[in-house]
């Protein structure tokens, strides 16, 4: 590990200023991802600016019936909050689907959204990775690509997926991200926070250096959001990252889809809002055939990887099966 300095400001504005003044500085929140990457040599910051004391650890009611989640709220507290469990079941389920108790106790809400991909090539500085270094190529395309993207990829570009379960659920409930930057505060819809790789896969989000997530707002829950869940498909019953996951919210009236939200994890560089499928389903009968047709339309644009060492074409039927069975469960009230 390369040596670095450590700062622990007491105001958010100080933290933002500290980062703005040092292009190689990094925020340190829960540290579960950053400390790992420091040890692996994936990141080599000059300075760590601890934001633990400058971000709220409170979950507050908003006047419209929504919730404001302080960026410092540990994942374990967020999953355990009775308001979250009742109004946003997909959010609580998503957190519990990931990591371990020890990690959830440490990991923060803001940090969870900003965790880096778990692509094994990204995590190993001795292999080429275009996400670590734009001048390099992607090792995964010819390597182990089981966990990699099928949507929103560019030819020969990065095929990493975003690993956060929470972010997928937040996309499905249309959360708003509160950000404090060098130029002041602003709000970013969660669906616009994460980026597709495009021509700069080194950037996971639209945040600029020095931008600090201070809170995540959940809008008042719609009937669909109250009837939401998170389904994660992985290699085994316990702790593992998603091959495919889906945060799904559904309101059915008289057998017809009145409202639906579908966000997918494990399929793209960002949590993938399945807008094509949603549009196809609204106003249609809540049947398996309709569900299947809708997700098939969403996957029309998919480009699975056919790597010599294990591609990910299996994700197409896996997404279909996961989304269809989750919608079916929500329609029947048994999810």
């Amino acid at each position: 590990m390369k040596p670095f300095t450590y700062a622990r400001p007491s105001e958010a504005s100080e933290a933002v200023a500290a980062l703005a003044a040092d292009p190689d500085a990094r925020f340190l929140a829960g540290g579960t991802n950053l400390l790992d990457h420091l040890k692996l040599g994936v990141v080599e910051p000059s300075q760590l600016v601890d934001v633990n004391r400058v971000t709220s650890t409170a979950i507050e009611d908003l006047p419209d019936g929504g919730l404001r989640i302080g960026a410092g709220v540990p994942n374990s507290d967020l999953a355990a909050d009775p308001r979250v469990r009742e109004r946003y079941p997909a959010v609580a389920a998503a957190i519990l689907a990931g990591a371990s108790g020890q990690l959830r106790n440490m990991a923060s809400t803001g940090g969870n959204l900003l965790q880096r991909t778990r692509c094994v090539y990204f995590a190993d500085p001795t292999t080429p990775c275009t996400k670590r270094d734009l001048s390099q190529g992607c090792s995964a395309r010819e390597g182990w690509a089981r966990y990699h993207a099928i949507l929103g990829t560019a030819a020969d570009g990065c095929i990493a997926t975003h690993p956060s379960d929470l972010a997928v659920a937040l996309v499905a409930v249309d959360a708003q991200v509160q950000v404090l930057g060098p130029d002041g505060a602003r709000t970013i819809p969660i669906g616009e926070l994460h980026r597709l790789p495009g021509d700069d896969p080194t950037r996971d989000t639209v945040l600029a250096h020095g931008d600090l997530i201070t809170a995540v707002d959940l809008p008042a829950p719609t009937p669909a959001v109250r009837n939401s869940t998170y389904r994660k498909v992985r290699d085994r019953a316990s702790y593992a990252f998603a091959l495919v996951s889906a945060a799904v919210a559904l309101e059915v009236r008289d057998g017809t889809v009145a409202d639906v939200r579908i966000a997918l994890g494990g399929v793209a560089h960002k949590p993938w809002r399945a807008t094509v499928a949603e549009a196809a389903l609204r106003g249609r009968p809540a049947t398996d055939d309709e569900f299947r047709a809708a997700i098939a339309a969403e996957l029309d644009a998919a480009e699975p990887v056919r790597s010599p060492l294990g591609g990910n074409t299996f994700k197409l039927p896996l997404v279909t099966g996961t989304v269809v069975s989750t919608l079916r469960g929500l329609a029947g009230g048994t999810a």
Partner: protein, 905 residues
Amino acid sequence: MTGPTTVDGVPLDATPRPGQCLRTWLREHGHHAVKRGCDAGDCGACTVLVDGAAVHSCLYPAVRAAGAAVTTAAGLPEGPDDPRPRFAAAAGFQCGFCTAGMVTTAAAAPGPPSDPTARGRALQGNLCRCTGYRSIADALDGRATVDAGPAGAVGDSVPAPAAERIVRGAEPYTFDGEAPPGLAHLVVVRSPHAHARITRIDTRAAVALPGVLAVLTHENTPSVLFSTARHESRLDDPDDTRVLDDVVRFHGQKVAAVVGTDLAAAEAGARAVVVDYEPLPAVLDAETARAAPPIHDGKTASRIADPARNVVAALHEGVGSIDAGVAEARAAGGAVVTGTWRTGRVSPASLETHGSRAWLDDDGRLVVRSSTQVPFLVRDELARVLGRPPESVRVLTARVGGGFGSKQEMLTEDLTALATLVTGRPVQWELTRTESLTATPTRHPMRVAVTVAARPDGTLTALAIDVLSDAGAYGNHSPGVMFHGCHESMALYRCANKRVDAEAVYTTTPPSGAFRGYGLGQVQFGIESALDDLARELGLDPFELRRRAVVRPGDPFVASADPADHPDDLAFGSYGLPECLDLAQAALARDGDPAPTGPTWRVGEGMASTMIATIPPRGHRAQAVVALDAGRYRVRVGTAEFGNGTATVHTQIAASALGARPDQVELHGGDTDAVDVDTGAFGSTGTVVAGTAVARAAEALAGELRDKAAARLGVAPADCTLGPDGVTAADGRRVDLADLSGARGEGAHGGSPRSVAFNVHAVRVAVDTATGEVRILRSVHAADAGVVINPQQCRGQVEGGVAQGIGTALYEEIRLDDAGRVTTRVLRDYHLPQFADVPRTEVLFADTVDALGPFGAKSMSESPYNPVAPAIANAIRDAAGVRPRRLPMTRDRVWELCREADLPE
């Protein structure tokens, strides 16, 4: 800062370095109840409470603990909620390395412990490689399974002598306890090529760095060839390895070692070493290795079978004629099955990684404290490599945090010893988890082609295997694994026509080595799968086919050689195989989880049976001395405890022979100073070889005590009885133990003759043909271990073996990319089974008494692993009609098989 951190209630007033994690900081200040199992928040061995919340201290910045109350396993509050006594009472550990983290997590876990989902979720962040988690579930439930009473004879579930210390994190492992003054650290530079010649190493910049004490390379270390594998005979393994070589043969091979005053200095030095390589052709596929350029060219005296063809070891022999046997089956209207099966590269992944600490004692003797299963064999080879007399080297162990065969190697001791000799300082080297996963030996991947034929009644008429074993870059254990893998797997069945064609070949991939089962699991995956297909074709129940086809007392053990030409010392000391088949079949038919409902779920059953010799062939030595000292029995034995339970069993054996309580027995083992010889704790010998030596020593001492007491009391020795307090004559007069101090007995065992043990595993699974998910609904295991000396402990060995078998069957695989580089570099990418992944296995023991083992016991440590993967494969076949031919049977592989068979989506 908001005041000092308190650790277990005591202020710790020291400032952590920037970037230092809480674990390292705590361990640096003597809090060794915090263990290091990984560095990435995957294993949970370092779990502590920070203000009551459980965290992985390896990912927790130490500075952030300022003002906080940190609690380790050593400082958990006593009382009704304290999980530690429950872990001791349930024998909720084997090696115990994970236990301190496990109890700390349990102490903070909310929710009702009896809810399996909540339990699984609570322990999601804690890995145990030994137990299979059943005993941990019992601990969480407060179910006591060890016998608390004072008895402790053979057959009782005596608790491990170290139990109380282990659950409090107080039992020292290799790197626990006070560090010697001036301790330096070693960091290794590793090869970025799968195969290359080193053309230049420039260490000048590294040596010039502050804190760098020495840099070792192939230019300044001995060039003597040896094998990292250790056996009773050093000729068993090819001498093809150097401490540091000028040719690297796998990605991750050590190239240079930098010694620094602290870890950071050594790491900085390692980054500054400049190495130039001339790449050589990589050979990544065992199938093409024999036609590739030689990887160990010119090593003519190294005992490599055919260096020009990259063949480490070869076996081509048979009895009878396979063609005739196949023709006989066909003519009789029987069946012939052929098929090819492949097994994966699996890591032993003990929670304590490899490592050692070397220093010079006051007499100038080189002392190495190592995480090893074979201290005596390491001493002998280390002396040879260093060119020193063996008596000038002492190797010892603390409690070893798991091994499973992987520590039957000399992987670190050569470098720490050399570093100490060069610098004059104590030096330690503890492998990181990534080093462990990328550069320490794995199970040999094998391709096993099987031909088996039978008459309609199940009489086998032909059994042939063609095995290709991937040795990796070095031949350590490759001959032994190949010969052993092809032996008991074939010898289990009676058949007039047998043939084995087997070769182990070099590739430029990480070396394969010893791992639980020693080749049997791989070969048996092929043979037991083929027999399942054979039973199907014959219309026989698979249990019934085994009953008809297995060897029985009176039969010779024939793998591929005529016993007239190759007599050996293997014998039926006992024979519980039919009973195991009956027990497993009956148990499978009852109970189990309900099958999931839905149109895509299919349910099926499968089984496999296996045999193992209780001792490795050609000698395995142990020696024990028992001395009576102030009313206590002090037992010296060479073998190390690494979770296999020998400390408990040896205590029980000595107590039984001496009529003593277990707490009167004190063991001193794992030390080349303890006795003269000990081959080591491998080949399932802890009970049958070292245990026999202990039994003989204790019996010799018992005889002497009776003689002495009889002389004093004027009675015949036969009329004297040993008890916990003394020796009592028939008339009730007694000589106190205290008056017999100084008496001693010695015992030894040479590892021959050898018996055979049997295992049968059976499962019911549900397969989702739409997703490829496999769920185990029922798991039963019947074992013939002879007299079970400690039922709870033996059950734990079986359950742990089954859990490792499930990992091999369904998830675990060290994967290489097309450059030969391991991509599964951390535990989150290498899936060890966790609490939620392992079903409960019902363990049943055959009621046999072995004529050869101590107290009628047989070994039961490696073998439970062997039948698990084929049993699961056979159940998948039964459920879905598809035949898995490659391990691990991951969800996507099963899904692909279901698609090829056009099963419902």
